[in-house]
């Protein structure tokens, strides 16, 4: 029923870099969602970053990393009733390729409604449905990268590939700022 997906005239405010203000209570259920189409070069950067994050970090209980691809309503179950959603995505923000971009709270659905995201339609349907049913994520942040190429291809461009570690770190910082600490796997092993 909801179709919040009319691309809006409004352009989401785009800020670069800075981390979120800390909040009081640590979110219990957290999803890091990488989205994008991995057969269109940099379009898939969110998925690549999510997988890299999962590979390099030990995830505490309650934190899930999902390769969302270009999925839509199939993500409802995973996102319903969570406390924090961190979206990783390619963002066309008219910056130089590889630049990190950050959106928070209400900017995120606006972003998906605009055509800044190449696959906006499905995710904003999901967020709208969750909103209406009272299961929307309590807190929402998106970190993304300006893509260089959206041509057909399974590989990221070298420029965007180089920014993946920074994107992963940005996601880790967003989580840390909200009291969710991820331990790098090497460190996790050392502790064990």
């Amino acid at each position: 029923m909801p179709s919040p997906c009319r691309p809006s005239e409004a352009t989401a405010a785009v800020s670069v870099g800075s981390a979120a203000a800390p909040v009081a209570s640590r979110p219990r259920r957290v999803v890091v969602l990488g989205i994008g189409n991995t057969i269109l070069c940099d379009e898939g950067v969110g998925v690549h970053a999510a997988l890299a994050l999962r590979e390099r970090h030990a995830l505490p209980d309650g934190v899930e990393v999902i390769d969302g691809g270009t999925a839509g309503m199939e993500l409802l179950d995973a996102l319903a009733g969570i406390d924090l959603l961190v979206v990783l995505d390619a963002v066309k923000a008219r910056r130089s390729p590889g630049t990190l971009v950050r959106l928070v709270g209400a900017e995120v659905p606006v972003f998906f409604r605009s055509k800044l995201s190449p696959h906006q339609v499905s995710i904003c349907d999901v967020l709208a449905s969750l909103e209406f049913s009272g299961h929307a994520p309590r807190d929402l942040v998106l970190v993304g990268v300006q893509p260089e190429s959206l041509e057909l291809g399974l590989e990221l461009t070298p420029t965007v590939a180089r920014s993946v570690p920074a994107l992963v770190q940005a996601a880790v910082r967003e989580l840390a700022a909200r009291g969710v600490q991820l331990l790098a796997r090497d460190a996790a092993l050392a502790v064990a």
Binding site: M1, S3, R6, P7, G69, A71, M73, L76, F132
Partner: protein
């Protein structure tokens, strides 16, 4: 003088579809359906290992992930003339059916109901009267007056909080909205319940597919699920019982809510049985294989010409020549080189963009034909083919739906009404009821087979030297999907996907005949050219999803949806 309306893009779908209509005297005179982005996944696959194709093709589309995985492994297995272990067939079948049930529920309640349901009107409803109406229609536990009161309250809070904006493209108060307030409120209540229930279908897919949305468990030759009754990590009793629980909940909702709601909405919109028939050649492929070779199917398929069920010709096996030889694709009106209709094994993907030419090339979609004719695919084609094949469960649910419509509309509504915009919704609900029962059947077959001691799930493929060809079809939620592969020395030499939305959303073919979307829009009423709700109703009734038919490109320019009335 005809007025041109351009809707670009059509929302509430995946991908990017543009529809143009010429309207004269409040009616559509001519229509164009245009896929606005280019698909080139075939090119990515060239030279690759055929065993990897399924994982790549399921990235084509976020809505139809599983379907491309299934069609792809079937194509390669067909090329190798492989058998697939029974357990693997049953596990794939369960995934296929759970995905279909999920897709149909979500399509009706969450992606198309807004075309028929006026949310603001629901605020005027008497919740107690809504509950009485609902309880007269079905025994569903979520139909009581307290439920309806709570839903109305939530909706009121939502609207007064200014949040209705998330339902953009809702044409509130449009003259074509006809449901009484109580029915609108009922639809909103079931919308919310459907949000909850659809998650059960998703859970089945994720238990069996190891992961969702992109399943991980299929392989050329079977599935990678290990079956064991005493291992925690394998598919065992506990997981199978969880799946059974979800199936039962889904069946309750589909039969007592979805099927009933579609009949009720259909009864109030009986005039929409007169619009939207379009192309009445119907094509559905059989699915839910019951043997290792793909010669017996639980869900029959075939071809019906010119709406005559008597003309039905079945497609019988995964290698049926009637199917394999019948498919061709033309690029005469598509932005590719060439115009002749080519068989998918010979298919080419060479872009030739020309801008939108009304009488020339105007779409990134090719135009598929079956023995030279356009054909409609999807739930309506599926249901009509199953009826023609004498499929008893389909007869049962189709009769039940039509009886409910007739009772509510106080006039006899017969099968002929199905060839229409609203008929496609009804057919989808009938199909969903059949498939949710089939889900239980497949579960029983899997459990019985495991109980016999058979735990085999995989046969290893071996690739010969030289060239082989194969096609894999799958009756996906949106209809007949097929992948066509040419393999040389174990590497992919050619790959073509003929997807459901290409059959339906295609431009004119090599003989300039309109495709199903285009034909179905002709004669549709349009009350207000600025708000072409009626056009959206007909297009949405096909459950358009063209992310797989086409691909995304530039999005920086053109920030707004345009409904241009010129």
């Amino acid at each position: 003088m005809a007025q041109r309306i351009t809707i670009d893009p059509i929302t509430r779908i995946e991908g990017h579809l543009r529809i143009d209509v010429d309207v004269d005297g409040g009616r559509v005179k001519k229509a164009w359906s245009s896929g606005q982005m280019w698909r080139g996944v075939e090119l990515i696959l060239l030279g690759r290992d055929p065993r990897d194709a399924w994982a790549i093709t399921q990235r084509i589309c976020g809505v139809c992930t599983t379907v491309h995985a299934i069609a792809s492994v079937r194509a390669v297995e067909n090329a190798l003339q492989m058998e697939v272990p029974l357990n693997a067939q049953y596990i794939r079948n369960l995934i296929i059916l759970a995905h279909a049930v999920h897709d149909h529920i979500v399509h009706f309640y969450h992606l198309s109901a807004l075309d028929w349901v006026d949310v603001t009107s629901a605020l005027k409803a008497d919740p107690d009267a809504t509950a009485r109406l609902a309880e007269s229609l079905s025994s569903w536990h979520g139909n009581g007056k307290f439920e309806m009161r709570a839903v109305k309250e939530r909706l009121a809070g939502f609207v007064s909080g200014g949040q209705l904006g998330i339902f953009t493209n809702g044409y509130w108060g449009h003259p074509a909205m006809k449901l009484p307030p109580e029915v609108n409120l009922l639809a909103v209540a079931h919308y919310l319940q459907a949000l909850d229930i659809q998650r059960r279908a998703n859970k089945i897919v994720s238990i069996l597919g190891s992961k969702t949305p992109h399943i991980q468990n299929v392989a050329v030759g079977g599935v990678s699920n290990a079956i064991s009754t005493d291992s925690q990590s394998a598919l065992g009793v506990e997981r199978l019982m969880a799946i059974k629980g979800y199936i039962d909940e889904l069946a309750d909702f589909v039969k007592n809510v979805y099927l009933v709601d579609v009949a009720a909405v259909g009864a109030f919109y009986a005039d929409w049985t007169k619009y939207g028939a379009g192309v009445t050649n119907y094509l559905a492929v059989p699915d839910i294989p019951l043997d290792t070779k793909g010669t017996q199917f639980a869900l029959p398929g075939g071809y019906i010409e010119n709406r005559s069920l008597d003309s039905f010709k079945p497609i019988k096996t995964f290698s049926d020549e009637f199917w394999v030889k019948g498919v061709a694709e033309s690029a005469k009106h598509s932005w590719y080189e060439g115009s002749a209709a080519l068989h998918p094994y010979k298919g080419e993907t060479k872009p030739q963009y020309t801008d939108f030419k009304d009488d020339g090339k105007y779409s990134w979609l090719k135009s598929p034909t079956f023995y030279g004719k356009p054909a409609q695919v999807g739930p309506l084609a599926r249901v009509l083919c199953m009826l023609a094949a004498g499929h008893e469960p389909t007869k049962k649910y189709a009769t039940a739906a039509l009886d409910t419509v007739s009772a509510l509309a106080k006039t006899k509504v017969g099968l002929d009404a199905m060839h229409s915009t609203i008929g496609r919704h009804a057919a989808r609900a009938v199909s969903c009821a059949v498939q949710v029962d089939m889900l239980a059947d497949q579960w029983n077959l899997l459990v019985a087979n495991i109980a016999k001691g058979d735990v085999k799930t995989y046969n290893k493929p071996t690739f010969p030297k030289g060239e082989i060809t194969g096609q894999g079809y799958h009756e996906a939620p949106r209809g007949a999907l097929s992948h066509w592969v040419v393999i040389e020395d174990g590497k992919i030499k050619n790959y073509q996907c003929v997807v459901p939305s290409t059959w339906n959303a295609c431009p004119r073919n090599e003989k300039d005949e309109a495709g199903p979307y285009e034909a179905s829009l002709v004669d549709n009423p349009v009350a207000d050219p600025e708000k072409p709700l009626e056009v959206l109703r007909t297009v949405h009734s096909f459950d358009p999803c063209i992310a797989c038919a086409i691909h995304l490109t530039d999005t920086e320019n053109g920030s707004a949806i345009t409904v241009q009335a010129k």
